[in-house]
């Protein structure tokens, strides 16, 4: 019974997210709004982690499973994929490396600046 209630909580939050998404003039996906709504509910303690943890861990732990049908859809796009295989592969590799370098570099820079600022006092 508990797991049914947890599924219910998730579906209701997602429906609320879709509803908000339709109301808002901005193209924000309903599932993102649902995530923000759920986060807000957790912060305001309307929902406690133990109300949703079983279903959440089921969803988070098996996340990849839910993408299978979307991936299988590539079947219809195979010609498009093969036609652009070279550029797609290059883009994939180059941008992933750049993204890692930019974000880890920024974290290090900010931590270094913070340490230097705070370091004068504490050390």
């Amino acid at each position: 019974m508990q797991i049914i209630v947890q599924i219910g909580v998730f579906f209701l939050i997602c429906l609320a997210g879709d509803f908000l998404s339709a109301l808002l003039p901005l193209p924000i996906p309903g599932s993102i709004l649902a995530m923000l709504l759920l986060f807000l509910c957790l912060m305001l303690r309307v929902i406690r982690p133990e109300h949703i943890d079983q279903k959440s861990d089921f969803l988070l732990g098996n996340m990849a499973f839910f993408f299978i049908p979307a991936g299988v859809g590539i079947l219809e796009q195979l010609p498009l994929l093969l036609e652009n295989l070279g550029p797609l592969a290059v883009i994939c590799v180059v941008t992933t490396v750049l993204t890692f370098a930019a974000s880890s570099g920024t974290v290090r820079l900010v931590l270094w600046l913070q340490n230097r600022k705070g370091g004068g006092r504490s050390e």
Partner: protein
Amino acid sequence: MSEIFDQITSSPMFGVALCIVTFAAGVALNKKLRSPIVNPLLIAIGLTIAVLEVFRIPLENFDKGGDVVSMFLGPATAALALSIYRQLELLKKNFLPIFLGCLAGCVTSMGSVYLLCRLFGLDDSLTASLLPKSVTTPIAMELSEQAGGVVPITVAMVVVTGILGAVAAPLLIRVFHVKNPIAAGVGLGAASHAVGTSKAIELGEVQGAMSGISLSISGILTVLLSLFLT
């Protein structure tokens, strides 16, 4: 005979069962070979496509069950809220470096994808499919769809990006001299979402937690950045 076959494969249970069987096979293979290249999702997609092709089962029959599985993508995205909530203390303590790191990652990812797409002369719909490639699949799918992208291409690129990040993680950390565990975690989460996070968890607790926060924040930031592009 073929009528019965058609009837059975167009039951929603067929698509769901096929997903479960192929995914179980993918997970088993991944456990046995212990390599991130053997990604369960990639194997499941490949096996499912192989079954559909070999037995000449139309995609629309499979999709009856496939749609049921896809229905859980929304709740799966919403569930990320709990994982951010669980890391709240860590996030509060390092908010500025994490936030700015994710922002730099998102801007770099979308900017470099856009520039390279232009360079290769890819059309708008392909560009829209690739722009969200570094964020977690449910978010990337939605963004791609809204911007007029080809969703299956997005899914393929997102999965490949994740695997690439996870496989290359030790090398990337060495090449860019990222000794700090927070920087390594945020970088992996921003560049290669949940698959990268699974690798970050292997590297250490701090890396794993940071990567989890980073993939959620990068997802939200990418949604916000996309608003400015459309």
